[in-house]
Subunit: 251 residues, 2 copies
């Protein structure tokens, strides 16, 4: 049995999809037997079965970032437009690799003569296409789920610049803990970016104003009095203390 399984898996992996009959001929057995071999494989999730063929488990057609980009995309686009309105032509920016930042980059496409430093390959590629911009990609080794770099060279590049404005994002905002990030790399990068900028703009959509601290346990100690927070919906009163000396802009 197992010798057939291997051959089935190999063939499927090689061709992407195979018909049951095709496999039956190749293995010199009946189609019924193929079905019996394939059934446990499907149950174990090693292949997928559709009418007429057996197909390889789909490599993520929708990469994680685009999936996240779809969530709350309307709100993020709104925030991005607000931020774009704050940033003047000719500004020097550093932009982090958050999903909301990708929308900001998109919104900044109508600007010109920007100097942009970012550790997101996607943002770099979008903004470099705009004539007159100077774009610097920080980092070499790209993280696979979002195409962002957090290696040593990313920090070295960021530290070489001084810019007007840092555009940052957070994974979550907690009333007492403040702005939170997913992992230490992101915290370090946010600190590095905020350190080279005269002012910071924090972009957080409505879904981030939540108390659950599930996957974002790390604090982002980056904002200073007078920095701007852009969001799409008024946060609850429990955030009053946190936002006391920040410049909150809604819509």
């Amino acid at each position: 049995m197992s010798k057939y399984e291997k051959e089935v898996l190999d063939t499927v992996a090689l061709h992407g999809t195979v018909s049951v009959m095709g496999l039956a001929q190749q293995l010199k057995v009946t189609d019924q037997t193929i079905r019996r071999i394939v059934k446990p494989l499907v149950e174990r999730g090693e292949v997928r079965k559709v009418h007429g063929a057996i197909v390889a488990v789909s490599h993520p057609t929708d990469p994680p970032l685009s999936a996240r980009l779809v969530e709350h995309r309307h709100e993020k686009a709104l925030i991005a437009r607000s931020i774009a309105a704050i940033v003047p032509d000719g500004a020097a920016l550093v932009i982090d690799a958050g999903s909301t930042s990708s929308f900001v980059a998109q919104a900044l496409c109508r600007h010109s003569d920007l100097t942009v430093v970012t550790n997101s390959a996607h943002i770099a590629s979008v903004l470099s296409m705009v004539g007159g911009n100077h774009v610097y990609m920080a980092g070499t080794q790209l993280r696979s789920h979002d195409g962002a770099a957090f290696d040593q060279s990313a920090f070295e590049v960021v530290s070489r610049f001084t810019v007007d404005t840092a555009i940052l994002t957070a994974s979550l905002v907690h009333p007492e803990l403040g702005f939170l990030a997913n992992d230490q790399h992101e915290v370090d990068m946010a600190i590095a970016m905020s350190g080279i900028a005269d002012r910071r703009i924090m972009a957080v959509d409505q879904s981030k104003w939540q108390e659950r601290k599930a996957n974002a346990p790390l604090r982002l100690p980056v904002l200073q009095p007078g920095d701007i927070v852009v969001t799409d919906s008024e946060p609850g009163s429990e955030y009053g203390t946190l936002l006391a000396d920040l410049d909150l802009r809604v819509g």
Copy 2:
């Protein structure tokens, strides 16, 4: 759910838009069948449907508009598919920043476990989204018209790697002068990339087989005997000598 879905999505993603009839011919089925396959995809929002054609949903990670307005994009997509068929899953690649290379990157999205080194922010961002890939962005300062890096760090990064295959492009191919590039930076990068690869694949669309040497006066001394040249149309006989010991593949 059908066995053709994957191929439909592939084709749509690669070409931006396709006609129902075109897909029908490619998949060797009736237009009715294509409509039936496409209908659930439209309902799930994976593609968009207009009268006469089926259109890819615009995604932030999609090739920017500029990449779609490229001349000869149909031919380049064809070449890209051929190259993608040559490259196996798990390969280590270095990819240059030519416009055809962007199409190759798009076509490689269905591969997995690739190791990719490139000096194009766009290619880096596209391929880094694919789960299992390891992508390295070479360079920091991005050239504004194509988002490619040719600074010193770009060469340093490239020289750190050894890969199976280099995917290169040329601006023009001349019967006697051979493969030509636009400027010295591109020549230097092509040499660096070809030096770290076991074999080279040169992608040139039909429009490059011309004698005019207007804007591409610099020779690309990068190909070695046995290297692959992929194009979409048989070049004239005057290229016989140039292609003598190369592996020419048409279509």
